[in-house]
């Protein structure tokens, strides 16, 4: 027997109507879907081959042939941004996965057990929070050397306490509710209650936090690749493209302008999507608007 606790206003049709009338959600959804589509298309097709260097075409300004111009090796910037999207999304997605996969069980455990377990999880959180993602990336790089995988691990580790906190706070608000009491009276254990009743009720919170961390992950990956700790050449990445652009600002400003805009648009889209989801699914935040 599964006890469900649904707010009367939360049926699916209502949510759909709210989604299609919410400007944040719609804009964010369209932008995010577009970026994802570009990343998927880049697997099959890009206007130019990003692995071929054509020195004769180097640092050309934007033109009908090269929409965003070319870089110092004659590679097409538009094509590189397409492939870079794939890279950014992969790194941020796996990092969010690590954060959720480890953080949510920890937070749920802390809320269910309380006492010393809760205290231990929270202190562990404080510890990880003391290492900003860039610092852990620096330490990981010092041990294993630079690379995309180490960037994923560093950003992922930083995501763990974020999700642990959100899951714990959300779960603590659910535990005192009547339907939990009913489940306990029915003889269910804490683990089963957490999986069947607590987690489904905090999915919204986790989803919203997930989009925020996804956006932060894309910013962090770009930052790490920019300083040479993340994705390594020849794999195109937005951060690395900005690094290459820096010394050529005077001759080829388009090398810096377009990859940066790609980051801004992607992060903006994800943030709008997150705001939109929070608006649609969470009555409290709707009131605040």
């Amino acid at each position: 027997m599964t006890l469900r606790f649904d707010l009367p206003e939360d049926n699916f049709a209502d949510i759909l109507v709210r989604a299609f009338t919410n400007r944040s959600f719609l804009t964010g959804f369209v932008i995010t879907a577009l970026v994802a589509a570009v990343a998927i298309v880049s697997f099959f097709w890009t206007p130019f081959d990003v692995t071929r260097l054509i020195i004769a075409d180097k640092t050309q300004a934007p033109s009908p042939a090269h929409w965003f111009g070319t870089d110092h090796f004659g590679r097409d910037i538009f094509s590189m941004i397409m492939v870079g999207a794939r890279n950014s999304i992969a790194v941020a997605l796996v990092a969010v996965g690590i954060g959720m996969g480890v953080g949510v069980p920890l937070g749920a455990l802390a809320a269910a057990r309380g006492g010393i377990v809760d205290e231990a999880v929270m202190r562990l959180n404080d510890l990880v929070f003391a290492f900003p993602a860039l610092l852990s990336a620096i330490m990981i790089t010092a041990i294993f050397g630079p690379g995309a995988l180490n960037a994923i691990i560093a950003i992922g580790i930083f995501n763990i306490p974020v999700f642990a906190r959100v899951a714990r706070a959300g779960a603590l608000a659910i535990w005192p509710r009547e339907f939990i009491l009913a489940a306990r009276a029915a003889g269910k254990g804490k683990a089963l209650i957490t999986v069947e009743h607590v987690l489904p009720n905090i999915v919204t919170l986790l989803l919203v936090q997930g989009t925020i961390q996804f956006a932060l992950g894309i910013l962090a990956e770009a930052g790490l690749s920019y300083v040479g700790l993340g994705t390594q050449p020849p794999m195109p990445s937005w951060g690395r493209m900005l690094f290459d652009a820096q010394t050529r600002m005077g001759v080829a400003p388009w090398m810096a302008i377009f990859p940066g805009m790609a980051i801004v648009v992607t992060v903006l889209g994800l943030n709008l999507l997150g705001d939109g989801i929070a608006d649609i699914l969470d009555p409290k935040s709707r009131r605040q608007r």
């Binding site: 202190r123 510890l127 860039l134 620096i138 920019y226 400003p253 810096a256 940066g260 943030n271």
Partner: protein, 315 residues
């Protein structure tokens, strides 16, 4: 109040000790013998062993940790492998760039964000609010190092108002030194200001809908007085929390921004140390920044008690 303060202090100390263990463990995992690294490949096994003894590398793990941690407390971080000078001297030389940069950025971000947040909350739902929050939404999405590149292009390459990078040193005079920190500070501050403005706005909107605000207005206090005396103070807790978190991001951010502007700060030091495998420098700078983050978070916790009398009276 005392119990609250003691608990926060204890938590900060425990976190600091655990963090130092993590950093120490990382240095232990790293392959390569520091003694061999310093002496070079041609040194004999006896020479290496002698230096290992001198450096205390043959002592038991716990003893080495205590020795290292004790050194940190007296600001003795050890000697740099590549520069052969005490690490503390390198840090002292570089921190006079990084710390002012982070502080200017923090001040700038606060000065911009709080008025914008108050403005938006006061015009909740109106055109001014929508425009300000649209700009903030955009600001949150801008990576600070890209923003820095755009600033360099506009003000240094195009308008030639400020240098594109480098640092003349404080000995060249306060004004030339400050001038080279202006663009980096703006690049660091604006994205943070966007976040802070959003938090200030939503905290103020929450507070302004409280009953005591209506009471204060009803007893005839002008809106301005209610805003500053009653509302802002109550909205400060979330704002302070974010300010504390932002200091961590600003410190980490200086590391990247210093690389954009070729500023000789801690960030440049750390990256040079990574490429030269000068691990003791990497470890010391990381430990210093982690300690700074923990200290700032403790300060934020303590300032809650100052801002919120309810926390003071509790126990």
């Amino acid at each position: 109040m005392t119990a609250y303060l003691l608990k926060r202090l204890a938590i900060a100390l425990i976190t600091l000790v655990l963090a130092s263990m993590v950093v120490f463990a990382v240095l232990e995992i790293i392959p390569g013998d520091p003694a061999r690294l310093m002496l070079g490949m041609n040194a004999s096994a006896d020479q290496v062993e002698l230096l290992r003894n001198q450096m205390g590398l043959n002592a038991p793990l716990a003893a080495r940790y205590l020795h290292w941690a004790g050194g940190l407390l007296s600001l003795d971080f050890g000697r740099s492998y590549t520069y052969s000078v005490p690490v503390i001297d390198l840090i002292r030389e570089r921190i006079v760039v990084s710390l002012p940069l982070a502080l200017i950025a923090l001040a700038l971000s606060t000065i911009i964000a709080i008025p914008v947040g108050l403005f938006s909350a006061g015009r909740h739902g109106q055109a001014g609010d929508t425009i300000a929050m649209g700009a903030a939404q955009l600001g949150v999405a801008v990576p600070n190092f890209w923003f820095a590149l755009m600033l360099i292009y506009l003000f240094a390459v195009w308008l030639r108002l400020v240098p594109a990078g480098g640092f003349p040193g404080w000995s060249a005079g306060v004004w030339p030194a400050l001038k080279s920190l202006v663009l980096p500070a703006i690049a660091l501050a604006l994205p943070q200001a966007a976040i802070l403005a959003r938090v200030t706005r939503s905290a103020m909107i929450d507070v302004l809908s409280e009953d005591y605000i209506r009471t204060a207005r009803a007893k005839g206090l002008p809106y301005r007085a209610v805003l500053w005396r009653h509302a802002l103070r109550n909205a400060m807790i979330p704002v302070l929390t974010i300010l504390g978190l932002q200091f961590a991001f600003l410190l980490a951010g200086t590391i990247i921004i210093e690389n954009v502007f070729y500023l000789p700060g801690l960030g440049r030091l750390v990256f040079q140390a990574i490429t030269q495998r000068d691990l003791i420098v990497v470890e010391s700078v990381v430990m210093l920044l982690v300690a700074a983050v923990i200290a700032v978070n403790l300060l934020v916790d303590l300032s809650y008690a100052v801002v919120d009398p309810r926390l003071r009276s509790r126990q």
